[in-house]
């Protein structure tokens, strides 16, 4: 077996450990402390924000417009509506500002 193959296997095992690890640790406790629960409830907003925020540093007017429209549409519409609206604004805006 090639080195590449073993890198892929080891990478897959490492990734699966991250996906099951948090559960294995948390499930060892019978009661979840309110503060821990508050922390867990914050996970989605906390992690997903880190996937967006640094992009703002490299973003131009087209990207900003797309994100603003996405945020506004998400106040009313569903996930698909806001995604399509944001993508449409991005594509149109980039035709003008590159």
């Amino acid at each position: 077996m090639s080195t590449t193959f073993w890198i892929i296997i080891a990478g897959a095992v490492a990734t699966y450990l991250t996906r099951i690890g948090g559960h294995l640790v948390i499930s060892r406790f019978d009661n979840i402390h309110p503060r821990v629960e508050a922390g867990l409830n914050a996970v989605p907003a906390a992690v997903l924000t880190t996937l967006v925020a640094p992009e703002l540093l490299n973003a131009g007017p087209a990207e900003w417009a797309a994100l603003v429209v996405t945020a506004v549409v998400s106040l009313r519409g569903g996930l698909m509506a806001m995604f399509l609206a944001g993508a449409a604004v991005l594509i149109v805006a980039r035709q003008f500002v590159g």
Binding site: T15, H23, L40, T49, L51, F83
Partner: protein
């Protein structure tokens, strides 16, 4: 008998409801799957290896980082460590979603954790937050199309990589941030949402500038979660729940 029929059709419609929610994810991740395949071959992977990596690792950003380092002939253990670092945020997802799927049989849980990606976690967590059960059929309906398209498109990208058009004009390099922003907005009714978002945004930007990628993700996430832990419980609304 009657209840059997009801629960079975319920499982089916649950599955298709999940499939419907998976469509934006399939659309947003498609360019990245193709791009991954193309870059993988460019960096010395065979088509089979690109396919295998997508099928077994199934984590877009970590795969990109992996092949990048591979192309630069970095030591194998360092490549694996980098994949682990990029994917480390899943530890938090795993701890969070465990509360929602603990009622599944162990095999289903094991499979569920395998497909626990960013959107999978966010959409499942949003369903749980709205008071609905996160069932296996629904969860699979949400995750399976994304997985299948990801693996197939990676292989196609590896075979036809040179044919990719200008990704910038089509805007596909920025589709994921748009999608993730929509997911962030979806959690805005949660207690402490704004402080957590601000803390994570600031910390991740500072970490991005200083420590560098991919650590900004884990550092930013931990900042937001720590804030929620440190603030007095009456702010976080935990003890008011039944």
């Amino acid at each position: 008998m009657a209840t059997d029929v009801i629960s079975e059709s319920g499982g089916k419609s649950d599955f298709w409801q999940g499939v419907r929610l998976s469509m934006p994810v399939v659309v947003a991740s498609a360019p990245f799957a193709v791009l991954f395949g193309a870059l993988a071959v460019d960096n010395g992977f065979s088509v089979l290896e690109a396919f295998l990596m997508s099928a077994l690792v199934y984590g877009g950003a970590s795969q990109m980082v992996g092949i990048q380092l591979f192309g630069q002939h970095v030591a194998p253990w360092l490549i694996v460590l980098s994949i682990f670092a990029v994917n480390f945020r899943h530890v938090l997802y795993s701890a969070g979603i465990g509360r929602r799927i603990a009622h599944w049989p162990v095999i289903q849980q094991a499979l569920g954790y395998f497909i626990l990606t960013d959107p999978q976690f966010a959409v499942a967590e949003a369903r749980a937050a709205s008071g609905q059960t996160v069932g296996f059929a629904w969860y699979l309906g949400l995750g399976l199309p994304v997985y299948l398209f990801w693996v197939i498109e990676s292989a196609l990208g590896a075979v036809f990589g040179k044919l990719i058009p200008d990704t910038h004009v089509l805007g596909i390099d920025f589709l994921l941030p748009i999608y993730f922003l929509g997911l962030v907005m979806g959690f805005r009714k949660r207690p402490l949402w704004l402080p957590v978002v601000i803390a994570s945004a600031c910390a991740s930007i500072i970490a991005y500038k200083t420590v560098g990628s991919p650590w900004h993700v884990s550092i930013g996430a931990i900042a937001g979660v720590l804030l929620a832990v440190i603030l007095p419980p009456h702010h976080s609304g935990v003890e008011t729940r039944p």
